[in-house]
């Protein structure tokens, strides 16, 4: 049995709130963040999106980064800084601190601004704009601003990236290569992703309805979410720790580039693997934060995999994407924060826009918010294109 890795804090910025407490309030008040496009310029105005309700100049102010910075980096820094502050740790340099961050679009927003002029005339367009395109650059910009140089890693495995960042971070600690790791992900909404998901015909023109029989697709969101992972040694004698990361696993569905296998093989393997590492039985899990995108395919595969593992009466489950939209590379990080908070404060998050149980499944998501529940073990699912399936389990410390 390896020494536990602890969650000492977390930070989130997304379309329902610019810090964790604001997000919890949105869940409590049943206020999902879907709205017409407001900040991004795009021809695709038919689709509701869940934007962070702030223009770039406001985010630049909040983050302290120059206005020319990619939106993904600004979101990333704001959430990472909240995570650090909430952990109560002193200075970054007091520890061997690592930054492990996931994203899928990088500085695509800047590239989009650059390209129209460039395509007209290859002498035009500000090359500085593309210099932040690479996903890795975003991580470095934010690590610099946080003062982290000990270890910096960028992970890019589609929509499970954020969860995989936590797995990687836990392993850094387990191997005594870091004492503290800020781990999670960030992604800004861009025309590129909006356009691309539109070509896949999986965007809903109404607010998404995850795990509902009438679901018609997902809404894109944006944001960032990070936890602060600390070693058992750093955790010793500290108060206010949120939870432990007691189990994690990743598996490949080996079925299709974008579609989940009909029975959710990869989903099942990931959940089973995470339970195994945590030394738990399915009945020990008290809440599941679903991947729950709201597409026909995901929710059916995920639901069948859950039914296979948990039987006909799985624990309370919900998709917080019904509030935040699908934030892609950020979602695994954001939902890890929600799941860890769920353990700490006994929170059960509602699934918004739900009316009708899926006919293929023996269960429905929960639809009301509650706090103060005794949630010893909570699971968070994150699945991505490329067949990449991840599952994290958070537990009360000392269990």
């Amino acid at each position: 049995m390896m020494a536990p890795t602890w969650i000492a804090g977390g930070g989130v910025i997304c379309g329902i709130g610019q810090h964790v407490q604001a997000c919890v309030q949105a869940f409590q008040r049943m206020q999902p963040g879907m709205a017409p496009l407001q900040f991004l310029r795009s021809a695709h105005t038919a689709f509701p999106v869940v934007e962070v309700k702030a223009a770039n100049d406001h985010l630049a102010q909040l983050s302290g980064l120059p206005l020319s910075t990619a939106r993904t980096a600004m979101l990333s820094l704001i959430a990472a800084r909240e995570a650090w502050t909430s952990s109560g740790l002193d200075e970054v340099r007091d520890y061997r601190t690592a930054f492990v961050s996931a994203n899928t679009v990088g500085g695509m927003d800047k590239t989009e601004d650059f390209f129209p002029a460039f395509l007209q005339d290859q002498g035009k367009g500000r090359l500085h704009g593309v210099s932040q395109h690479e996903c890795g650059t975003i991580t470095e910009v934010v690590a610099d601003a946080l003062g982290i140089s000990h270890h910096i890693t960028t992970i890019s495995t589609a929509c499970s990236s954020g969860a995989n960042a936590l797995m990687y971070g836990a392993r850094l600690i387990h191997n005594n290569l870091a004492d503290v790791v800020i781990a999670g992900g960030a992604d800004a909404l861009t025309r590129f992703t909006l356009n691309g998901f539109n070509t896949l015909m999986i965007l809903d023109t109404a607010p998404s309805r995850p795990f509902d029989d009438s679901r018609r697709g997902l809404n894109l969101g944006e944001g960032a979410g990070y936890v602060v992972l600390v070693s058992d040694a750093v955790a010793k004698d500290r108060k206010g720790l949120w939870a432990t990361l007691s189990g994690f696993a990743n598996a490949n569905d080996a079925y299709h580039q974008t579609a989940s296998s009909p029975d959710g093989t990869g989903n099942y393997l990931a959940m089973q693997g995470a339970l195994h590492m945590a030394g738990l039985q399915p009945a020990d899990i008290r809440y599941i934060n679903l991947h729950g995108t709201g597409t026909q395919n995901n929710d059916l595969s995920e639901g069948l995999a859950i039914a296979r593992l948990f039987g006909n009466t799985p624990p309370p489950a919900s998709s917080t994407k019904s509030f935040t939209g699908h934030t892609l590379g950020a979602s695994g990080g954001i939902e890890a924060v929600f799941a860890a908070l769920s353990v700490r404060d006994g929170l059960l998050y509602p699934n918004a826009q739900f009316t009708t149980q899926m006919k293929e499944l023996p269960f429905s998501p929960i639809t009301t918010f509650s706090a103060g529940n005794d949630l010893r073990h909570v699971m968070s699912n994150s699945f991505g294109f490329g067949g990449n399936c991840s599952c994290l389990v958070f537990s009360k410390g000392g269990s």
């Binding site: 070509t199 896949l200 579609a259």
Partner: protein, 85 residues
């Protein structure tokens, strides 16, 4: 109709990058998905692009795909029907 079917076969091969398939390998009534050519959900989306690009026909609901894209003949019939409108 025969000409349209022949055109469609060439266009499908081009659009879907079926580089080792020849037009004569595709039967007019052979299923395009699963068995037959073994096309998948992304190919179905590319067929929707094909109809828009070559025939100016827009399919807004992907659920209509399986019915329209059963075989080359059903696609040809759909195009003919749409053009008549």
């Amino acid at each position: 109709m025969e000409q349209l079917i022949a055109d469609l076969k060439a266009q499908i091969i081009e659009q879907l990058n079926l580089q080792e398939v020849k037009p004569e390998d595709i039967g007019d009534d052979a299923p395009l998905f699963k068995e037959g050519l073994g096309l998948d959900s992304i190919d179905a989306l590319e067929l929707i692009v094909l109809l828009q690009q070559y025939y100016g026909i827009r399919i807004a609901n992907p659920d209509d795909g399986p019915r329209i894209f059963t075989s080359v003949r059903t696609i040809a019939e759909f195009i003919t029907e749409q053009k008549a409108k």
